[in-house]
Amino acid sequence: MNQNRDYGRWIDRRQSGSFTARSLHMDWPLLLGLLILSSVGLVVLYSSGGQDMDLIWRQCIRLGIAFGLMFMIAQIPPHHIERWAPWIFGAGVLMLIAVLAVGTVGKGAQRWLDLGFFRFQPSEIMKLAVPMMIAWYLADNTLPPSRRAIVVTALIIAVPVGLIVKQPDLGTSLLIAMSGIFALLLAGISGRLVGGLSILAAACAPLVWFFGMHDYQRQRVLTFLNPESDPLGSGYHIIQSKIAIGSGGLYGKGWLNGTQSQLEFLPERSTDFIFAVFAEEFGFFGILVLLTIYLYIIARGLYIAAQAQDTFTRLLAGSLTLTFFVYLVVNIGMVSGMLPVVGLPLPLVSYGGTSMVTLMAAFGMLMSIQTHRKLIASG
């Protein structure tokens, strides 16, 4: 601590123009974890994509963009982020409404907003905007939050979640709801209230089943409960994925030697089901190593949150980290047949752009929070 403080002062003295480690606003332990993880991702992708170097290059370009964005966001001091939070949130909600009105339909759901030169999913922005908004709102209140604060927070969560459910995109809405709930939990909401809300949610489940879900979503849940009921249809993904994981065994079949993935029995093997490729080729011990890398990144994120100096940064860092964790658990849970297939990627490993960019933006905020700490204190 003390050493850090001294180091900070040293930075303060030389803050003008000196191109040093500290002035890059990078959290080196976190950056190391992210680099290792994305390298592992490229190795697995090379195998799952049939050794297609074009695929690897495209993924590298995405990673470059994502790391670049992370670097830029890390330069923004947290109080700027705090100040922009309600505006970003408001803009995000408007865009979600716009998506429902004029959005582009892809894969049976309206998720994209086409601005002519640029197509993007406003729901991705909400993954960041909702924790930011809640952290901004609760930062002005005393904690633990009052009942009134809880109700307002619930509204902040419910509006975008409701709009995204409408698209429909169950996976993202679930993730956003979770990020908001994490912020509330970290803010110190009472355990009893959490229990009560859980029961209420469970009671609402049948209503959601009958009125809130599309046929294909219901089918996914049914398939999850009994994948063998439809082995050639929607159960096929889960069956093949379990075969891939199970046949990997302790040591795996070796890199590039997974028969399930190399012979293309495993669907979506470069995107949502890439974990099964990893499990087949690197086995149980490989999974232990991979989970250790994730745990390291999450632990570092929580450490940054715990070290943060005000409520906004604490809540934001905490809920972003936990959201990252939810990605991990939901993806592995779905690939290994513990959760229904909701279509979330394995963070930083799966091929694909949008969620990676969002995730790295979140890590940029974590780095900003960590590296601007001393400046705020001394300012």
């Binding site: 005393t142 939990l185 110190g188 199970g246 029995f265 989970l291 929580l302 409520t311």
Partner: protein
Amino acid sequence: MYSRIAIKDQIREGQLFSSRAIIALICIILALLTIIGRMVYLQILSHEHYTTLSQNNRVSIQPIAPTRGLILDRNGVVLAQNLPTYTLEVIAERVKDMDQTITELGQIIDISGDDIKRFRKQLKHKRRFQPVPLRLRLSEEEVARLAVNRHRFPGIEIAARLMRDYPQTNLAVHSVGYVSRISEKELDQIDPSNYAATSHIGKLGIEKAYEQQLHGTVGFQKVETNVLGRTLRVLQRTPPIPGQNITLTLDTELQRTAKQALAGNTGAVIAIDTNNGEILVMASTGDYDPNLFVNGIGHKSYDELRTSRAKPLFNRALQGQYPPGSTVKPFIGLAGLEDGTITPSTSLFCRGWHTIKSDERKYRDWKKEGHGHTNLEKSIVESCDVFYYDLAQTMGIDRIHEFLSPFGFGQKTGIDISGEASGILPSTEWKRRVRGKPWYLGETLIAGIGQGYTLTTPLQLAKATAILANRGRSIQPHLFMQASLPDSEPFEYQTDRKGEIIAKAKPSNWEETIKAMENVIYGRHGTARRLNRGQPYRIAGKTGTAQVFGIKQDEEYVEEDVDKHLRDHALFVSFAPSDKPQIAVAVIVENGGHGGSVAAPIAGAVIDQYLGGRQ
């Protein structure tokens, strides 16, 4: 903003957050442990189960068809073989523009509209990487033209496949038979795994009878396939065991001689090696090209074969049943001698007809004026009918039946291909059983000259003649000589009915009968004296003329007045050399007229070639 933060209890909020963060971390670790638990279950506890599923996913077993055995004649002449035929195949995924490719291919080789139609139909049912045949049975010239232009057509392949081929075409079709596509009915009878890669099966003749030996044993290869079923590599291979080559007892050259001698007539020739029952010739006119059947014969061609007057699909040698006519006389004469009813010197005066007391009907001799004094030898040499009317009347039908049965009359010979007819050797018991009527004496009389109910197949006649030539020693007619695989001991024909004396008679009675049969050829009045051409060996034989339609009591049979297809059948049975027999020949020429003039020369040609070639 700063002042508001100041009001808050920063330290307490920090502590609250930290405790929640620790709870979160614990929850995270628990969740990770749950995931690890799931992995332990999938990857360690259920590892074998999922390994099996994964193997089943990728490994498939493909059968490999064995090569069908050849069929050869006794001298090694190929009767059935496997020839590569070339098929033009197209792999859709490698073809850029299918329509253009087909059009351009059509400029190089002949592609019919039917070919294209069938190709398009099959294309829909195959994966894009699987070859689909566009043109079958390419000629060598077409293969060469395609090979030269190959570079212009990515995705085309010329596949060679073995196809059954019968180089002698129709020569021995009735014994060799043919193969054709496996039918639904046959699918139920064959071992599905052994025939997993086989498309054709023996339908007739030797091809059917020795299907098991000819087919061989299927081989297998384990191959790795991807999700689309594309074969990536062979993991393990068990080669097929080819079918055995089968050598037949047939002599192609002799068969050809018989066919040429038969040419222009309808009929059948059977020649048997009297020592062992090997069938040297089995010729039936009205034949066809078995190659037509290999790839499925068209309806039109098949109808033509089926409805043709010449009945080409009908194997007369095996399936044709004819009255033996006078060819039965040596057997009945021998029966009389052995029975004691007559002696070689017993003489009868033939005045041209015979009557029985109960009947006013005249049983005529073929020679209107009669043969005069006739003993056994004369009765055979000149084929006197009256002698046999009398002999049969004295012996009675049942004793004739009893004596003739061991020669195989009225029974299937047990030849090793199917379809054989059994013929009829009548008896009182037979008539009661089959016709439900009593036997009449008149029927005995005409049975004595091989007419009436008596029916034989040419094969039966040949077998009976061979037993006579062997002085009672039986033989088993057969076509199979040996089966062999390269590098292994051949499997020879075996039968448990070899060399048994089944027709018993005193040696002198055999010799009397056979001497008479020699004089059919060498006697001055012999009905087949035209065969006497000074051969270094002696032939014994008997002519026969079998009535196709009955003439009224007072009418005369005038050959020229009768429609060709109602004329008498001409028959001839013979063996040679008469003292040490080697070959027995039976000939029938449908509606041929007289045995001596039509049938005997055919047998003579076969015997001359067989024995002449040996000396």
